[in-house]
C-alpha cells in the first residue's frame, strides 16, 4: 500500500512532500525512543510518534522509513518540516492517539497487500 492511500484512508494531515506520497508502506513501528527506532524499525515502515523535533526525520531517512506520522495533533517544528523535504520522507499527522492510530493502520495494512 502506498503512503497516499494511507493518508486518504486515515484522513491524515500532510505536512510535507505532498507530491511524493508514492512510497510503499511495508508496515508500521510505534515508539517515541529514537534509539529504539534506529535499532529495530525496518525499511518501508511508517513511524508513529509524538516527537516533533528534526532528529526524527534524520532517523527516518537513515532507516529508509516510508513516512512519519505525528499523533495527538502534535505539530512539527519548522526545522523538522524542512529536513523532511530535503530527505524526501513525508511527514504526516493525525489528531488520533497512538493506540487508535496504530489500530486503524494495522487494520488497513492487514486487509490489503
Amino acid at each position: 500500500m502506498k503512503v497516499k492511500e494511507i493518508v486518504d484512508l486515515l484522513s491524515l494531515k500532510v505536512y510535507s512532500c505532498e507530491d511524493s506520497l508514492q512510497g510503499e508502506v511495508t508496515g508500521g513501528y510505534a515508539s517515541d525512543l529514537l534509539s529504539d527506532v534506529m535499532g529495530h524499525s525496518k525499511e518501508g515502515q511508517v513511524w508513529i510518534t509524538l516527537q516533533t523535533h528534526k532528529n526524527i526525520m534524520g532517523v527516518a531517512s537513515l532507516r529508509d522509513l516510508s513516512a512519519v506520522i505525528l499523533v495527538k495533533g502534535f505539530t512539527p517544528d519548522d526545522e523538522t518540516v524542512k529536513l523532511s523535504v530535503t530527505e524526501g520522507v513525508p511527514l504526516l499527522g493525525s489528531d488520533m492517539e497512538a493506540f487508535e492510530l496504530c489500530g486503524k493502520l494495522y487494520e488497513v495494512l492487514g486487509t490489503q497487500k
Binding site: 517515541d32 534506529m38 532528529n55 526545522e79
Partner: protein, 136 residues
Amino acid sequence: MQFEYKVEGGDFTQAGHASSQIKKSLKQLGVDSSVIKRVVVALYEAEVNIVAHAYRGVIYADIESTGIKLTLEDEGPGIPDVEQAMRKGFSTASHAVREMGFGAGMGLPNISENADNLSIETVVGKGTTLRIEIKF
C-alpha cells in the same frame, strides 16, 4: 577513502550528519544494503552519544575495499563503568535529552549488535574513543 567530521556536544541540530554522509558514500560505492544499514545504526548511535554525553569529538571514517573502520574520539566525562554502560536500559542522559526521546540506554547495545568489532577506550574526566569495524 577517508572522511573526518567534527561533532559538538549538545548540538542536536547536527546529530546524524556524519551518518547521513557516510550512508551516501557507501551507497555510491555499491556496498550491500544490509551492510549499509548496520553501519548507519552503529555510526548514528555513536555520533549521538558524543552530542548527548560529551563536550566535543571527531569522527574518522576509513572505507576500504573489505570494510569500514570508524573511530569516534571525544573529549568528555568518560565512562566510569563500561560494562554497566553497555547494558540495555542504562542511561545517565539528562531530563532534557530524555524528553527528546534519547536516553533509552539502547545506543551502545545497538552498536555492539551491528558491529563486527567494537572497542571502547575511556578515561574518566578526559574522554572516550570508540572503534567500530564492519566488514563488507
